[in-house]
Amino acid sequence: MSQEHLPRLKVGLAEMLKGGVIMDVVNAEQASIAEESGAVAVMALERVPADIRKCGGVARMASIDVIENIMKAVSIPVMAKVRIGHFAEAQVLEQLGVDFIDESEVLTPADEHFHVNKFDFKVPFVCGARNLGEALRRISEGAAMIRTKGEAGSGNIVEAVRHMRSLTSELKMLTVRSDEELVTAAKELGASLELVKLVARDGKLPVPNFAAGGVATPADAALMMQLGAESVFVGSGIFKSEDPAARARAIVRAVTHYRDPEIVLEVSRGLAEAMPGLEISQIAPEDRLQERGW
């Protein structure tokens, strides 16, 4: 098929995932629990971010067997992570047939200067961003979906909130800028003027904008949705909690009914302990995953 339709097919799949929850899973059993709980997609990885944080060392793309078993276990889309800049890991995942690739700061970066040129791939990519400039640079490289970085594996929502708020307030500011101001804005954002103009006109990103990094409770998910996220990734928040299946179902319903506190209350009742959380100031700056990428 011709290449001209590719961007639409990639962003199209991201559109289908809106209003849903994408859950981190490390094996087929967890993937089935996620699907059974109403996940719209699963993210296959070797260890959830909380464990990556604990284990240290180099975090790479998950083993092929793990990803393959997960793909066999569920009928919903399967995503997998590659290291920033590791286009060969991405080629392998495309060959395997995963549905979405996350070029993720949660893994150890492979390239300190360049992200993957995502236009080279048929598979859509999602990338993390802390602010508008980062989001636009990833979109310029071909990302079909943006998510906040937050602080993965922390169980602390504060960084995801910071990133979503930065992005939306910067977006709002662009919409009132004049043409000559947009030229300077493009320079400051490190993004092309063409893309900056498009975003200034529409007041939103040209690709779906999801939340990730620190979601642990149904109310966290409802908070991110009300701040403008169109879907929510939950990493360690589900399978590091005391009751993964019940919590997964609760977060799914909280995302759908994010503006309905009555339902968010109802789903929050009776849940066991959430994952343990980390105060961000307790994480050394060099250990903060959000600092990876540029």
């Binding site: 339709h5 289908m16 109403g38």
Partner: protein, 217 residues
């Protein structure tokens, strides 16, 4: 004129913007109570298995009742799966209102997603477009975006096949229900599928033509 868009999950906002472009007013439907007082309903694309988990018994029976009452409905991709008689690959429950059998992810995974820039219309399809006054000398092209799309494997006697891709039905109609296994909401220009839908919604009203496009009113 009020069109409800089932907004539990999926690309409901793409449907709302497309309908807004032809003058329709939409509301997001997340609860059974929001199904009353609608003139039309859209069941969007997304993950049918996730949507099912969010549809409790009372919601399902309200949906069943509205559709059986003849509420004009446009179902796309996952929407068709929800309405089908039987679902395969894997089997899952469905409303059994649209008499088709359907296979999820029929073409494969995301790398197998594709666009057909002009679906093949059947005789019934040409007639439907003709009746909707959408034939301007020649039939309009129906551009179809297929994303992890299902395949209809059986069509009941009361179901008209309006268009096909690779000799398989992809646009079907049963009474007031239009089902597309593709995504008219992602077409570059307003899809003729919406115009067929708008015709179903205001069957008695005729259509208003403004700047060559047909509008809801």
């Amino acid at each position: 004129m009020q069109i409800g868009v089932l907004s539990l999950q999926g690309d409901f906002s793409a449907h709302s913007s497309a309908i807004a472009r032809i003058g329709g007013h939409t509301i997001e439907v997340r609860k059974a109570s929001q199904l009353s007082d609608l003139d039309g309903l859209v069941l969007p694309g997304g993950e049918s298995s996730a949507m099912l988990k969010l549809l409790d018994e009372s919601f399902l029976s309200a949906l069943r009742e509205s559709l059986n009452r003849g509420l004009p409905t446009l179902a796309t991709c996952a929407g068709v799966i929800l309405l089908a008689s039987a679902v395969h690959n894997p089997a899952q429950s469905s409303l059994g209102i649209l008499d088709v059998d359907i296979m999820r992810n029929g073409y494969g995974r995301q790398v197998d997603s594709f666009v057909d820039s002009s679906l093949l219309l059947t005789e019934e399809g040409r007639a439907a477009l003709q009746n909707a006054q959408l034939m301007n000398g020649r039939a309009p092209d129906i551009e179809a975006v297929f994303i992890r799309a299902p395949i209809i494997t059986r069509v009941g006697a009361d179901v008209d096949v309006l268009a096909t891709h690779d000799s398989k039905p992809v646009l079907v109609q049963q009474g007031s229900i239009l089902g597309a296994t593709f995504h008219p909401e992602l077409a570059e220009t307003i899809s003729p599928v919406y115009l067929l839908f708008s015709r179903l919604v205001q069957a008695d009203d005729g259509l208003v033509e403004v700047d060559g496009s047909l509008l809801f009113r």
